[in-house]
Every structure is written in structure tokens, then in C-alpha cells.
């Protein structure tokens, strides 16, 4: 049996990087709409801010993922040498990280909404007032 610690880390790392990449890409691809609203349609500054926030998002989340990677608590009576322990530890770590990532995503979404509301409150909106569509029967 290979070293189960190394095995755990080798499975853990691609999963968390993939997860972070997926969430960040989704968040900031769609965040552009908010940024354009916030910066009144100035595309250059909106894209720049979006990109800066994206890099920050990567740094925070990958940092946190690496911070919680170490498998500890197995140096005493537990040997950490069965596949079941590996699966359970991985599930706990990846699951906890995914929920944390979801919370970060909702915090970001909240900030987007807040920025958009503030921008609409104190300033002239460039976007025209949207038309309420009539229900189609």
C-alpha cells in the first residue's frame, strides 16, 4: 500500500483547484453584468475591477484550501492506513471546503447586489428602464 497521506493529498488538490476554478469562472463571467451596472457601462474599468476581484477570489480560496489540507489527528491510536479512512477524510475535507466556497460565492453575490443598488441610488443610471414583458398566452 502506498503512503495514504500522499494519496489523500494527491486526490484532494486537483478536486479543490477544479472546484475553485469552476466557482470563480462562473462567478466572474456573470459578474461582468453587475460591474457594468456599477460602473455605468464603462467597459474598461468594469472588466479591470472584475479581473482584480477574480484574482483576489482565487488567492483567498486556494490559500484556504491549502491551509486545511494537512491530515492530522492520525498520529495516535489511528493508523490511517485503510481506504475507508482515506475516503472519509477526503469527504470531510472536500465537503467542508465546498460549503465554504458556496458561502464565499453567496457573499460575493451579495456584494455585487449591494454595489449595484448603491450605484443606482446615487447617480444617473445609463441603462434604460427595462420594459416589463407582458405574459404570453
Amino acid at each position: 500500500m502506498t503512503n495514504t497521506f500522499v494519496l489523500t493529498y494527491l486526490i484532494y488538490l486537483p478536486i479543490v483547484f477544479g472546484l475553485t476554478l469552476y466557482v470563480a469562472r462562473t462567478l466572474f463571467r456573470n459578474g461582468r453584468v453587475f460591474m457594468l451596472d456599477i460602473f455605468k457601462g464603462k467597459a474598461d474599468i468594469a472588466d479591470a475591477t472584475n479581473r482584480l476581484f477574480e484574482v483576489g477570489f482565487y488567492l483567498i480560496n486556494i490559500g484556504f484550501a491549502l491551509r486545511i489540507m494537512e491530515v492530522d489527528g492520525y498520529w495516535g491510536e489511528n493508523a490511517y492506513d485503510t481506504m475507508q479512512e482515506v475516503v472519509e477524510t477526503l469527504a470531510g475535507k472536500v465537503g467542508g471546503f465546498a460549503i465554504y466556497l458556496g458561502v464565499m460565492l453567496f457573499i460575493n453575490l451579495f456584494l455585487f447586489f449591494r454595489g449595484r443598488r448603491k450605484a443606482r441610488q446615487n447617480g444617473i443610471t445609463i441603462n434604460p428602464v427595462p420594459v416589463i414583458p407582458q405574459p404570453v398566452h
Partner: protein
């Protein structure tokens, strides 16, 4: 291979399919509601909706993985079924709770919006 591992191998794909299915249903059928809430601004609604879908995936799958640890040692097939059912029930009920909460938020928000609109028209 221990029966615990077999239980995990059955539990995870089943719950994965369920969570993804529920999330996609919410995503698809929540869109008309969101269009109403955001005055038919389709580009904005699609952006918010896909961010919400990603959030739904990460939180639900994270919770599924989190539940998948520390099960009691499974010794026989009857215990396998009982344990699986109990753990799956947790996930299914959690999904149900989230689902009804989603519907409640949509309903309350659109009520509120309707109320605001009629109030504005009156003044």
C-alpha cells in the same frame, strides 16, 4: 473491500444525481420568476441565475460529502440498507427544506414587489 466503502460508493453517485437534478430543475423553472422579479432584464437574470446554480451545486455537493463520513461499521446487508436509507434521508430532507425555502423566497419577494408597485401607482 469493507461494506462501508461499498455504502459510500452507492451513496455518493445516487445523491450526486439527485442534487444535480434538483438544482437544474430550480435553475430552469426559477427563471420565469426571476424575470418577473427583475422586470424582464434577461441578461441580468441569466447572470444571477447561473451564479445561483453554481452556489447550489457547491453547497449541496459539499453537504453530501460532509455527511459521508463516520458511519458506524457496517457488518451485513440489512445494516447496509438501513444505514444507507438513514443517511440518504438526511440529504433528501435537506434538499426538500432548501427547495421549499427557495420557493418561499420567490413568493415573498414577488408579493413584496407587487405590493410596492401597486403602492407606487396609488400615490
Amino acid at each position: 473491500m469493507s461494506l462501508n466503502l461499498l455504502a459510500y460508493a452507492l451513496f455518493f453517485p445516487a445523491m450526486l444525481v439527485l442534487a444535480v437534478g434538483v438544482a437544474q430543475t430550480c435553475h430552469r423553472h426559477g427563471r420565469p420568476w426571476m424575470l418577473r422579479l427583475f422586470d424582464g432584464d434577461a441578461a441580468f437574470v441569466d447572470a444571477v441565475n447561473s451564479i445561483l446554480l453554481a452556489g447550489c451545486y457547491t453547497v449541496n455537493l459539499g453537504y453530501i460529502a460532509l455527511v459521508m463520513a463516520g458511519w458506524e461499521p457496517i457488518t451485513g446487508i440489512e445494516q447496509l440498507l438501513a444505514t444507507l436509507a438513514r443517511r440518504m434521508a438526511i440529504i433528501v430532507l435537506a434538499l426538500a427544506a432548501l427547495h421549499y425555502q427557495n420557493i418561499a423566497v420567490l413568493l415573498i419577494w414577488s408579493r413584496f414587489k407587487q405590493h410596492q408597485a401597486t403602492g407606487k401607482r396609488a400615490t
